[in-house]
């Protein structure tokens, strides 16, 4: 069984109509899984379902073999999930270091070593540590946001479109960092608009259409699949 396994997920926001239909997502340890698909396919919604931000009418989410379907997002953070929202993912009027400290709020032990690790992983974060996070560029903000989520030492890191609105160079840089995070043994589940580049670094890719699994395979295989290329990757 995979480290994260979400099966048969069906549900939507509040009492609204179902957005997800029998959706399945799974990630192995140290693996990068990428969710791609057209606009409105339910990519972000699928990830939010994994994080407990919407009510599932059916299905179950299991982390490391434990059923966490009934837990709130905060409780899932305690269980080892880290989540980086797409927007508003930093504390803008607090310094970068304080952002990291707030990421470690639930920890009672000494989190200095983790801060050092984040600084090592993101040299730009170290350089700007005393600056307010709101004054940073888009790419740097994303690094701070990922750094903040890493402060709880999560076992699964979820990223909602980390490269939205950043330049191609910054995007490559961010993907490099994400690969490095995965190398430390953290599983990564990521939603991406830049499907081609994201699938290139993905161990596993999920193509969603209208809240359902359309194609699931390794990133490489999806990139090579003529049907996927034609419909989703623009030839």
């Amino acid at each position: 069984m995979s480290f994260l396994s979400a099966t048969n997920m069906t549900g939507g926001y509040g009492a609204g109509p179902d957005i997800l239909h029998d959706l399945e997502l799974s990630v192995d340890k140290g693996e990068i899984a990428v969710i791609v698909g057209p606009n409105g396919a339910g990519k972000s919604t699928g990830m939010k379902a994994v994080f407990g931000m919407l009510n599932l009418r059916e299905g179950a989410v299991k982390l490391d073999g434990t059923d966490i379907t009934g837990l709130s997002p905060q409780e899932r953070v305690h269980k080892g999930m880290g989540f980086v929202p797409q927007v508003r993912n930093i504390f803008p009027t607090m310094s970068v270091r304080e952002n990291l400290e707030m990421g470690a709020f639930i920890r009672d032990d000494d989190f200095e070593p983790t801060i050092e690790q984040v600084y090592e992983l993101f040299p730009a974060v170290y350089e700007k540590r005393n600056q307010n996070a709101g004054e940073l560029s888009g790419g740097q903000r994303q690094q701070v946001a990922v750094g903040r989520a890493l402060m709880t030492q999560p076992k699964l890191l979820m990223l909602d479109e980390p490269t939205a609105g950043v330049s191609p160079i910054v995007m490559d840089e961010l993907f490099d960092r994400i690969i490095e995070v995965a190398k430390t043994g953290i599983s990564i589940l990521m939603v991406e608009q830049n499907a081609r580049q994201a699938l290139e670094i993905a161990d596993k890719g999920y193509v969603l259409v209208q809240g359902r699994n359309a194609y699931t395979d390794t990133g490489e295989a999806l990139l090579a699949d003529p049907e996927v290329r034609r419909t989703f990757l623009g030839g």
Binding site: N89, T93, E98, E101, F105, R148, T152
Partner: protein
């Protein structure tokens, strides 16, 4: 030369010293408003009443201490009673939060609704205060009244203008500096203070980080009760305690918080002094100063006063409107209203 000195002394005596003390009082009041706005996300109209309630407790405990013969020598006894006032105000705001605001937080009421709710709370608190101490004007400052007396100053310097420095004015500045230093240390250096700033910055992310909103709200109320009591007591010592005046103080306090930028503590302090100095300068009769500075033997016919002191609230109101029109986020980039 002597004339210029005399003009300067008159200006210091009637504008700079009173405005500094008043500015410090407004600043501490505005800090409370700005904290509530930043963290509970509404403009708390009951803040003036919170100040009045805290001051009322200080006043009553001061009376008790005086009857027991306890005093602080040259310093006002009210300083000893201050912790009790803070406790009283804390109990009051925590009680209103539990019974009133908590419900509106749970139903996620719009901020404008909370403003109206706080108005209701204001009238309730207002009634309670009037029931306990009535509406009279009370003075509760005791101890040494002056640090420098006008007559002594004249004798000392040989100038014809006197300069008086009251104990309460110096006390206001000293206590204000200590309070602000303590508040900024708390907000910037402690884990709890940082979690309050985080919650104010980005509520959703604070929740994701495991920050407990109810705890943040409770601590905010406690800090606000302390600030309100300190501000109210300093104002009451400097002038007098009259519940109705505290309700009126709401306007300059809100003006200070908005001028500085709602949600920004530094802005609240700057705003307090901007409002105080504008109010005092615009309503001061410059006749004396102009007479000293003008040609020998000439004196202006009028008072050289831009606005009568009756209109002092018009000054804060005008500044408030100007800021809202041209820089709605205030001097220190607070949240737009």
């Amino acid at each position: 030369m002597v004339d210029i000195l005399n003009a300067l002394v008159a200006f210091t005596n009637f504008v700079i010293i009173p405005a500094s003390a008043y500015g410090a009082q407004l600043a501490i009041g505005a800090l409370g408003v700005t904290l509530i706005y930043g963290i509970l996300r509404f403009s708390n109209f009951a803040h003036g009443e919170t100040m009045a309630f805290g001051t009322m407790v200080v006043l009553l405990v001061t009376g008790l201490f005086q009857s027991w013969g306890i005093s602080l020598g040259p310093l006002p006894t009210a300083l000893l009673a201050l912790p009790f006032g803070i406790l009283g105000a804390s109990a009051l705001v925590l009680f209103t939060d539990r019974t009133v605001y908590k419900f509106y937080r749970r139903v996620k009421a719009a901020p404008v609704m909370l403003v109206i709710v706080s108005m209701g709370v204001m009238f309730m608190m207002n009634g309670i205060i009037r029931m306990i101490v009535g509406t009279d004007d009370r003075r509760f400052a005791d101890g040494e009244r002056f640090i420098i007396r006008a007559r002594d100053f004249k004798e000392m310097t040989g100038l014809s203008e006197g300069l008086a420095l009251r104990t309460t004015q110096v006390l206001t500045i000293v206590v204000a500096i200590a309070t602000v230093a303590l508040l900024f240390w708390f907000l910037n250096k402690t884990r709890t203070g940082k979690s309050m700033r985080a919650y104010s910055d980005n509520e959703d992310l604070a929740l994701l980080s495991g920050i407990n909103p109810e705890r943040v709200v409770m601590i905010t109320w406690l800090v606000v009760a302390a600030l309100a009591t300190v501000a109210g007591t300093l104002y009451g010592l400097d002038k007098s305690f009259k519940p109705f005046v505290y309700m009126q103080l709401l306007l300059p306090i809100f003006a200070s918080a908005i001028v500085g930028g709602l949600g920004s503590p530094i802005g609240a302090i700057a705003g307090g002094f901007v409002i105080a100095f504008s109010e005092v300068t615009i309503t001061y009769a410059f006749k004396k100063v102009v007479t000293y500075l003008g040609p020998e033997g000439w004196r202006p016919d009028g008072l050289v006063q831009l606005l009568s002191t009756d209109y002092k609230f018009a000054v804060s109101f005008a500044i408030l409107i100007i800021v809202l029109l041209f820089k709605p986020t205030g001097l220190f980039k607070g949240k737009s209203v």
